[in-house]
């Protein structure tokens, strides 16, 4: 069973990567319908990967699934809400995530038994949702910056607000889990906690910057885009396994 799943997982990862590549090429050659078809295939492959890995690990929290989760949510947004968008940024990002997943396609670590807690799953899922929303906000901001438009970034800010809320939920459920399992709400030896707190401060900073009068749209966009890169980095890097050293 395990070997079959691993075999399938590798092949579906390949299909996903090819589909997102097809999507990017079709977008570039102005064929929105074809692009949408490719993206749909990519999204369903991604969904299969996510569900199969998640259910295989149950009742434990699966490890190294963040990349696939974020990619799934971004693919859903692309297919459902950004079909008409001409920007190539999100499809390119999806392709990058699919390539990273292809580099390290299997969940090599066995889950640990303390992760069979509802709070562990909330920590993971809210974290995935938060990071996807924050990356999406950054993509929207980068799109606008690249087009040279001065749109008040209210849509992106709203995404940040909801992403921030999910990040808080993820962080606090992680703390409750940590308390119930290890006896302390914050463990400083876990890189995942350190990076989540770093993200929390970064996006808290963004929310505070709104109250500074000299905070221009251009700066807002740049800050959002940088935040996106940071979020992407802390989400993707730990999931690259032996390849993180290369990066």
């Amino acid at each position: 069973m395990g070997e079959t799943m691993a075999f399938l997982s590798e092949h579906v990862s390949l299909v996903m990567c090819a589909a997102f590549f097809g999507g990017v090429v079709s977008f570039y050659s102005r064929r929105p319908r074809l692009a949408c078809g490719f993206m749909l295939v990519g999204m369903f492959s991604n969904l299969w990967l996510f569900i199969s890995r998640y259910t295989a690990a149950l009742p434990f929290m699966p490890l190294h699934i963040g990349l696939i989760g974020i990619s799934l949510l971004l693919a859903c947004v692309q297919v459902l809400f950004r079909r008409q968008e001409k920007s190539l940024l999100l499809p390119l990002l999806l392709l990058l995530l699919a390539l990273c997943n292809l580099l390290y396609p299997k969940d090599f670590y066995l889950p640990f038994i303390r992760s069979q807690s509802l709070f562990a799953h909330t920590f993971l899922l809210c974290g995935i949702g938060a990071k996807a929303l924050l990356i999406l906000a950054a993509v929207s901001a980068a799109d606008i910056l690249l087009r040279g438009e001065a749109v008040v970034l209210s849509a992106a800010s709203r995404l940040v607000s909801f992403g921030y809320f999910l990040l808080i939920l993820s962080m606090f459920s992680g703390e409750i889990w940590s308390y119930l399992g290890w006896g302390t709400p914050v463990v400083w030896h876990d890189a995942a906690i350190t990076t989540v707190i770093a993200l929390w401060f970064y996006w808290s900073c963004f929310l505070h910057l709104h109250y500074i009068r000299s905070w221009s749209t251009r700066w807002q966009g740049a800050f959002l885009a940088t935040g996106g890169v940071l979020t992407l980095l802390v989400s993707v890097l730990p999931d690259l396994g032996p390849y993180q050293g290369v990066l």
């Binding site: 395990g2 070997e3 691993a6 299997k106 090599f108 670590y109 066995l110 032996p242």
Partner: protein, 396 residues
């Protein structure tokens, strides 16, 4: 903003001064040149603090040293004749130097040899016929050492009869019973695998139990020198073999993680350790897929199995676990090494073991090297009777 910068500067100055001001000598350079461990204070300083992986040794005063064992329990070491310190229950106080020790782990016994204290050993969980160390076998014969039973179920009556000052073990379940018997227990295994430096300086953890700090320092120096020599010999080699260390069992796959001393050593000798990203306890379990994927890249494979537990040839390994047949080292011309039975009892010869591992990974850098602790597995099982002497009764 200026005030903020001022605060930051003040803080850093204070912190730096605090760190420099303490009675601790400069950090000792590790084998790879990294500062990895703080050295114990010299004679002048009364207080000192030493970390050895998850173990710590804190000299509080001339009459009190507090050690933290692998399970994070604090024990007080008090010289014989000195008053017992307050705040420590009797079962957490050890009177030094210790005279009688029961040890579970072969590595602990080897460390006693390094410290010149093998005569204090009065009981082990390894029976006499599985020992390859002459001194231990001799003491078994004259009745100074007894077998206290299997590690999974020791005979408490036998331990009680031996009247040990301490039991060195990895099994925390014996603590309540030992407490009842009034015998202190030191847990000598840790939840996270020992890194190279911790492995080398573990001797410094046991040294204060016997007042043998000088012997410990000398041994650490010797092993450190051997590592430097290995580094010098291998650092300019162009070839970078890929190494894996672990084994597949019926349903489980166990490997040495990247944070273990083996992973660090392999990296140090100009080669790639394929489980470098795996972190955790020694013999950590990973998925079969990962093992096989890394196996496809590997050039050198070290198995956990000894010839006595089935690692007699590549063919035997493949027979035991057919899935493993696809990994490159098990193919024709591949290199597979198995530890010989006395390897696990040779922890007092880390310098030789490190050199042997380097010689296995880079045979060109060590021409004519004769293996002492590992066996290169042949393609097929040797004809019976021929190889018996090879795995047989070596004494160390």
């Amino acid at each position: 903003m200026k005030i903020l910068v001022l605060f930051a500067l003040l803080f850093f100055t204070a912190f730096t001064l605090t760190c420099c001001d303490m009675e601790q000598p400069a950090s000792e350079g590790g084998p790879d040149g990294k500062s990895v461990v703080s050295k114990m204070a010299g004679k002048k300083a009364k207080k000192s603090f030493l970390t050895i992986g998850e173990f710590t040794v804190e000299k509080k005063s001339d009459t009190l040293t507090v050690v933290r064992d692998g399970a994070g329990r604090n024990l007080a070491l008090v010289p014989r004749g000195a008053a017992d310190p307050e705040g420590f229950p009797p079962e957490m106080i050890i009177h030094t130097p210790m005279k009688r020790v029961v040890a579970y782990s072969n590595f602990d016994v080897a460390t006693l040899r390094v410290l010149g204290e093998i005569n204090t050993l009065v009981g082990t969980t390894t029976p006499e016929n599985r020992w390859y160390v002459d001194e231990v076998k001799k003491r078994f014969t004259d009745g100074s050492i007894v077998w206290v039973g299997n590690s999974s179920g020791v005979d408490y009556e036998v331990i009680k009869k031996q009247k040990p000052d301490v039991v060195l073990t990895w099994d925390p379940s014996i603590v309540p019973m030992m407490t009842e018997l009034g015998i202190p227990v030191v847990i000598t295994s840790t939840p996270v695998a020992m890194c190279l430096n911790a492995r080398m300086s573990y001797v410094k953890f046991l040294a204060p139990f016997f007042g043998r700090e000088q012997e410990a320092d000398a041994y650490f120096q010797r092993v450190g020198d051997s590592l430097k020599a290995i580094r010098r010999r291998t650092r300019d080699l162009a070839d970078q073999p890929k190494v894996m260390w672990g084994d597949m069992y019926e349903k489980r796959v166990l490997v040495e993680p990247g944070n273990a001393w083996i992973g660090e050593l392999v990296g140090l000798v100009q080669s790639d350790y394929l489980f470098e990203d795996v972190y955790g306890t020694s013999c950590i379990e990973i998925s079969m897929e990962r093992f096989l994927t890394s196996g496809n890249d590997a050039t050198v494979y070290f198995t956990y199995r000894t010839p006595k537990t089935g690692a007699t040839s590549k063919e035997a390994l493949k027979r035991n676990h057919p899935l493993m047949a696809c990994i490159t080292p098990l193919g024709p011309g591949g290199s597979v090494y198995s530890p010989l039975p006395w390897y696990s009892q040779s922890g007092d010869k880390l310098d030789e073991i490190f050199t042997e591992i380097a010689a296995i990974i880079h045979p060109d850098a060590y021409p004519n090297y004769t293996l002492k602790y590992f066996l290169e597995l042949p393609e097929k099982d040797p004809v019976e009777g021929k190889e018996g002497s090879k795995n047989g009764e070596k004494r160390i």
